[in-house]
């Protein structure tokens, strides 16, 4: 019996490994092709390898006409600001929805999902008009706010579920032991929720980083992000330059994710203690 179970476990492990490997290939192979295309001038059928290489993509990225550093800096800054703002609001909203009963709670719960339900283009055009009237169009603050509206439903859903899963046991214990509100937040609530907070923040970061149409309209084309500069090349079918931008795009996202992961792992030990206790 036991041997059989072990064998089953063994083949299960191999199946799992094979699936992971398959998934890795499915994700990594297209990425590898993007990296190759960033240096490729022409790659006609039936050549297995690129026919000729070029530094055109790199020259375009670092050339004088494109201020890559500036664009990348503003993209990352906007995405980080959006991630911070969205996560803060989503945490509050999540706490309100999971802990308190108040009049119209279900309406609010539905309201959280509302930006999901409206087509992005329609939404963007309405936001543009409203932001123009409010004097927010063409400003970085306006773009961050607009991105936050889009990212909020995702972050709020994550935070509501996390709050409900975490419960308030530990928090009550801390209060009973005499911890003040600030200490309860900094010592119990935030560390408990850290993985979810980072998930919500990275989700918001990604959403903000990849917004094209909304950034274009709310930013009036003046707030230049990486997605904005990259898109014309994607739509005109210039694969070399589009891929070169794609690589930068990927790298910028991965670096931030790596930092988030690093932050999470530092806290991991404490988390495990909590969930085991």
């Amino acid at each position: 019996m036991r041997r059989q179970a072990r064998r089953a476990g063994c083949s299960g492990l191999w199946a799992a490994r094979a699936l992971v490997a398959l998934q890795a290939v499915c994700v990594l192979a297209p990425l590898a092709i993007i990296v190759v295309w960033a240096f490729t001038a022409s790659w006609p059928w039936p050549h297995l390898l690129p026919e000729s290489l070029t530094a055109r993509g790199i020259e375009e990225l670092f050339g004088p006409s494109q201020k890559l550093g500036e664009v990348l800096g503003s993209s990352v800054a906007i995405a980080l600001a959006c991630a911070f703002f969205t996560t803060t609001v989503a945490t509050m909203a999540g706490r309100a929805l999971s802990r308190y009963r108040f009049c119209g709670r279900e309406v609010f719960r539905f309201a959280v999902l509302l930006p999901f339900l409206i087509p992005a283009t329609v939404f963007a055009m309405g936001v543009q008009v409203a932001f123009i009237r409010a004097g927010l169009a063409g400003t970085v603050v306006g773009v961050v706010l607009a991105h936050s509206i889009v990212a909020l439903p995702y972050a709020a859903l994550i935070m509501t579920d996390a709050m409900e899963a975490a419960g308030n046991r530990l928090e009550e214990q801390a209060r009973l032991c005499g911890a003040g509100p600030v200490r309860t937040w900094s010592g119990i609530i935030i560390p408990t929720l850290l993985p979810s907070l980072l998930s919500a923040a990275s989700m918001s970061y990604i959403l903000s980083f990849s917004q094209y149409f909304l950034t274009l309209l709310v930013g009036s084309g003046k707030v230049k992000t990486l997605a904005l500069v990259m898109f014309p090349y994607l739509s005109s079918g210039d694969r070399t330059i589009a891929s070169a931008y794609g690589v930068v795009f990927l790298a910028a996202t991965l670096v931030v994710f790596f930092l988030f992961e690093l932050l999470l792992h530092k806290r991991m030990a404490r988390e495990i203690d909590y969930f085991n206790g």
Partner: protein, 446 residues
Amino acid sequence: MKQNNGQPQPGQTTGLMSRRRFVGLAGTAAATLMFGGAFVGCAGSGNGGSPASDASGDDAAAIANSVDFSDWNAVLEAAKGQTVSWYGWGGDEARNTWINTVLADALKQKYDITLDLVGMDINDILTQLSGEMQAGVEEGSIDFIWINGENFYSCKENGYLWGPFTSYLPNFNDYIDGNSPEVLYDFGSPTEGFECPYGKAQMQMWYNSDVVTTPPTTVEEFAAFCQQHPGQVTYPEPGDFTGTAFISCLIAGVVGKGEFEKLSAMEEPTEEAVLAVVEPGLEYLKSLKPYLWKEGTTFPADSSTLSTMYADGELILNMGYGAPQDLVNNGQLPETTRSFIFDSGTVGNSNFMAIAANAPHKAAALVAINEVVSPEMQLSIYENLGNISVLDMAKLPQEQRAQFENVPLGAAQIPLDELLDHRIAEASGPVIPILEKLWLERVAQA
């Protein structure tokens, strides 16, 4: 799962209560933010509040209103130090580089004007412009736009453009033939001085001379060519402007240039009137279908898809407004690339620059546009981008004309006079959708 039911529990302090209220408030604020966004998204006109005074507004509007635009020196003076934003299609690396280096440097050095090129799709530009105009913004973000055709027509009809302004431009007055139909009309709609020509474009086809020995230069040869290379020739689905232009060339080849150009004069065309002109051409297109890519059951959605398929060797013929010399120069296409046009001619049009009605820097926009149509810049455009100049060569001094004539022609390029001798006027703006509909009914679905 434990939940606080809102009843005071032992151990809860007033501090907790107030914090809960705070959290509740924040939740409400978050929901309001989302609700607000959503409602505005639906209605397209929210509560809005007071009309915004643009925070970034400098004194440009005040200056702009007091400038006498007919006095060019006053315009130059007002433009000094301004940052002018040029919105236009941004998918051409060579053009972006030219604008950001050659043109921007010249404007900076000569007139102390900073040029900010905003590359985006014309539809997005129009969305932004109409959004600003509908919100009543007096100082918008767009100064001037690269535009033509029905986009120009709809902008002008809606009052989104400022003008007429071309008479203010010294270079327009000196070097451009203001009475030429290509300047007076843009896809059949009168320009009336609301846009200044930027470049001329003409449909050309290209191929790899290692793969194709003799290009088909008549519609009969083209049909035979498709039969010899089944599945290796197609065109973008009309609706994409390259696709529409290419079927226009073929139709013109069948019905004749004179007959086809009747379409460019139609201002309020009926389907019958258009069909009367193009019917033999549609029959011809239908007869090509079995030999096209995927036997004509489907067509690539746009010209960039077609270009990708051509670059990958899936197709042996590609087409566009202008020769692909820059693609050959940067190694995307082989050195053996050659262009050709039909003996019966190919359609051409002009593209233009127009100033937004709420442009905050009209003086600088005028100076920038004037610079684009200067002989030096037009020559530079022709040299670097292979674009046909909008200047009237007869109005240029002898030496400048010679400079244009001495620009070395790339192997993939067709001599200018040969192009202009085989130029067919494009169908007017209102005819285009009818032509596309007829193609769909009588060619694609037949």
